[in-house]
């Protein structure tokens, strides 16, 4: 019989081993571990540019304002990441955020319901809308693009029906305006930074310990020390900068918690892994026993819940709800910005690729452009041009890296 082959890897007409050399290695790193690098670099360039053009840009007050604006887009984009990872899309998230926040306002203002209860009902409704979409798309095999387009319009209609003839509910006096209007400061915020640092340390430490236990290479410095230090330092800088104003806006704290939860779910749990698996090859996942339909319903449900949370923060920020809540009819700029944020952050529209932090990165880029151009007194038309161009640029860079790795196979 055939001789036993030893450890030297076979090269099958050059396909097994990637082309030697530094370039191929850099491309592969960019495609995997350093995927976020181009976006982060681009974001820093934008920050440097706007800081050089406007003294106010880097002020604590402006950064605080910028972050709260970003949180609304970021929260909705975070939910979209779950759906996009499956290779699906949800065009109803903006409408969902509108109708749920209007319902919350109606319950709190008109029916005099306890505000906290109204808020919980709104988030639950958001999740339920998502689950119905997921069920419909899987049960009747209708593309999610179409289902969510239709559902979005239905929700827009419901929003108009729910609103009073005045076309607006004010949240003043309900307590709900406090969500976006308050700040976490003093010892409390430092405790939160400590909790976040401990969370990252705990995750990394257990991972490192298990690797050592199972004889898998692991570096204490790269696995544990660096990520923990980065979390602590980034948290501390954020707090110090924002404390110079009034403290960390409550929505920023809420978003950080949601981001941590989403990251954990995607990176550490079976549910998260299966989202990637379904997005990579749904048929293979199905044959491996993954409950694909259930995954889809859950992902749309998560997107719906996060859309509702984003809508509530938006309503709280502008102290009320109106026809234009949820981006207005069709979702408008809110929907487009949320999708653009996820995509700029590196989430593939074809499924299987992207991270939770993509929502933060992408929303920050869009937020910085909007805020910076506003400060420079640039009109809306130019803002749209710049945001659109950035979207196309980001996806082009992403696809180019993808193509280069494919070519190096």
């Amino acid at each position: 019989m055939s001789t036993v082959q030893t450890s030297v890897p076979p090269t099958e007409s050059g396909r097994a081993t990637p082309p030697a050399g530094r370039r191929a290695r850099i491309v592969e790193l960019l495609a995997t571990d350093l995927r976020a690098l181009p976006v982060v670099a681009g974001m820093l360039l934008l920050v440097v540019y706007f800081a050089s053009q406007s003294d106010f840009f880097l002020s604590s007050r402006n950064l605080s304002n910028l972050l709260v604006q970003t949180v609304v887009t970021g929260t909705i984009a975070l939910g979209l990441v779950f759906v996009l990872l499956l290779g699906e899309i949800d065009l109803s998230v903006a409408a969902n955020s509108g109708v749920t926040s209007v319902l919350m306002a109606k319950l709190a203002v008109e029916s005099g319901m306890n505000s906290a209860l109204a808020l919980v009902i709104a988030v639950a409704l958001g999740a339920a809308i998502g689950c119905v979409i997921g069920f419909w798309a899987t049960r009747f095999k209708v593309p999610s693009f179409v289902v969510t387009l239709g559902v979005g319009l239905v929700l827009n209609g419901l929003q108009l029906i729910l609103l009073p003839t005045a076309g607006r509910y004010s949240l003043l006096g309900t307590g709900l305006e406090q969500i976006a209007g308050t700040f976490v400061t003093g010892p409390a915020i430092w405790v939160l930074v400590l909790v976040a640092t401990a969370f990252v340390f705990g995750l990394r430490w257990t991972t490192h310990q298990r690797k050592v236990q199972h004889q898998i290479d692991s570096s204490m410095l790269r696995q544990v020390v660096l990520p923990t230090a980065v979390t602590a330092v980034a948290g501390a800088i954020t707090v110090v900068v924002l404390n110079a104003n009034e403290g960390v806006p409550t929505p920023v704290v809420i978003f950080a918690a949601l981001l941590a939860l989403a990251s954990y779910t995607l990176n550490e749990t079976r549910f998260g892994l299966h989202l990637y698996a379904v997005g990579g090859n749904a048929d293979a996942a199905l044959r491996a026993g993954v409950k694909v339909n259930r995954m889809k319903i859950a992902a749309f449900g998560i997107a719906g819940a996060l859309a509702a949370i984003g809508g509530i923060i938006a309503a709280s920020r502008i102290l009320g709800v109106s026809v234009s809540s949820g981006g207005g009819i069709g979702g408008g700029a809110l929907l487009l910005n949320a999708i653009a944020a996820a995509v700029i952050g590196g989430v593939s529209l074809f499924g299987g690729r992207g991270t939770a932090s993509a929502a933060l990165l992408g929303a920050l880029v869009i937020g910085i452009v909007g805020n910076g151009l506003n400060l420079l007194g640039v009109s809306t038309d130019v803002q749209l041009l710049v945001t659109g161009a950035l979207l196309v640029l980001a996806v082009t860079v992403d696809r180019t890296i993808e193509r280069m790795t494919a070519a190096s196979r």
């Binding site: 076979p10 099958e12 991972t207 298990r210 898998i216 749990t269 698996a277 491996a288 299987g352």
Partner: protein, 254 residues
Amino acid sequence: MTTPLLELENVSKAYGGVQALAAVSLRIAPGEVVGLVGDNGAGKSTLVKTMAGAIRPDTGRIRFQGRPVELRNPNDAKDLGIQTVYQDLALCDNLDAVQNLFLGRELVGPRLFGGRIRRAQAQQRSREVLRRLRLDSISLSRPVGAMSGGQRQNIAIARSILWKPNLVLLDEPTAALSHTASAQVGRLIRQLAEDGLGVLVVSHDIHQFVVEVTDRVVVLRLGRVVSQFNSKDVSGETIVNAMVGGNEEVNSAR
């Protein structure tokens, strides 16, 4: 002769008026590599799917380790330790080798933490399995989409044996591979047999693969077993002749 691992007796299957399998009898012993060859439409796929539990035959008996069994669905086959590697491999290109090996059967921690995946443990087991199969060169952490066809095929085969099966069915494992990669897959198949597994491999690559890798060749034509050969004393030409209907000699090897 040892008890056959899997034994098919007069298995037939018809689709409408088409007789896909006509009274096929076949046995696979532990430690044996059986090649299944035949022209397109000879019934190879139907036969593999029957053994994998994906198709229920109309008539005929199936025995596993001497006991009569019914394969009503793929899970029945899996429960007996029959694993199938289909031609499309069913890999998720965006996941790495470890994630693909354990897909759907992840090792997870307590529910309290949302079923946190025990990745290091899976990595260690994957490394052991790949090492045992002499596939050390496969990276555990690269997405399998960035790997060569041969490596992907080997990962699919490694996945099939991860849970210690008795019998592995391979559908066209070398269809898209270069000669060197096919040879590598061939070595892996021999290794499985040396570990005591039964292997059935469907292939069109008669001259360079079937003759080299298998112990015995079963030739199907129009749903019937028309010939069986001992691989070491048969030429590729003889097998091809039997496939297309050259001479009807039946060389019952065992």
